[in-house]
């Protein structure tokens, strides 16, 4: 399970339970000034995530960890039962985050809203 929190100036992504194992990460914190936007994107999981480096991939079930595609590094943590939200970053280790949540539309709007307030 991925928990997404927005603090005053950071977007904090926390991996819960076994997701720490799949992604090999517990937490990713990004300054809100480095977040360019968030989008509910159900189609993103139908495309190849790229090369796993490192992470876990059970096709159609779980995509987790660091993936490299077209020279861009993306952090994934999505499983089949979840809705993907794509968070675009700038000037960070990851070009973007693809995170599985219960309600991608609401999550994307919540993140976008925090950028509007800035």
């Amino acid at each position: 399970m991925t928990q997404i929190d927005i603090t005053r100036d950071q977007l904090v992504v926390t991996m819960r339970g076994l997701d720490r194992l799949w992604t090999l990460r517990r937490r990713i914190a990004v300054p809100l000034t480095s977040v360019r936007g968030a989008t509910a994107d159900p189609g993103v999981t139908r495309e190849s995530a790229g090369f796993r480096a490192p992470g876990t991939h059970l096709p159609g079930v779980i995509t987790a960890g660091t993936y490299v595609k077209d020279g861009e590094r993306t952090f994934w943590n999505v499983r089949r039962s979840q809705q993907p939200v794509v968070v675009e970053l700038t000037g960070q280790r990851f070009a973007r985050l693809v995170l599985g949540v219960d309600d991608a539309r609401a999550t994307a709007e919540r993140i976008e809203r925090s950028l509007t307030r800035r």
Partner: protein
């Protein structure tokens, strides 16, 4: 960072405007944008940041174009109904668009709201009674 743009951003924005005008914000998925704009998903995100950021850019350019052209008002009307109530940035752009339209009308400031309502109403009726010429995706 990221790879260089391999597509013409301006024509991509113009194509996105058509998609958003035809299908609305929620009705246009990222898949629709990837297909319709002919760009890679990664390029779309690195160019525009998010679907909402692209939508706001489209809406901003539409509002600017209202200054001069006899623009089609569908995008503005759709934004007014669909996005303005839930998105303060969209609401502000819609407000600006309505101001721009109002100022262009040959009416005194007092008569402007009525003239604007009439213009928007006429556009809605025309849209509702004219068969669509755009080809719908199946």
């Amino acid at each position: 960072m990221g790879r260089p743009r391999s597509f013409d951003e301006e024509s991509a924005v113009a194509r996105a405007a058509e998609l958003f005008a035809d299908h609305g914000y929620e009705g246009t998925s990222v898949d629709d944008l990837v297909r319709g704009l002919g760009v890679h998903r990664g390029s779309l995100y690195s160019a525009f940041g998010s679907k909402r950021a692209l939508y706001l850019r489209v809406l901003r350019e539409h509002v600017t174009a209202l200054e001069s052209d006899d623009e089609d008002l569908t995008l503005l009307l759709r934004a007014a109904v669909e996005r303005a109530p839930v998105d303060p940035d969209a609401a502000e752009l819609v407000g600006t668009g309505l101001d721009v339209l109002g100022r262009r009308l040959p009416a005194t400031p007092d008569d402007r709201p009525a003239a604007l309502a009439r213009l928007l109403g006429e556009h809605l009726i025309r849209r509702a009674t004219t068969p669509s010429t755009t080809t719908e995706d199946t």
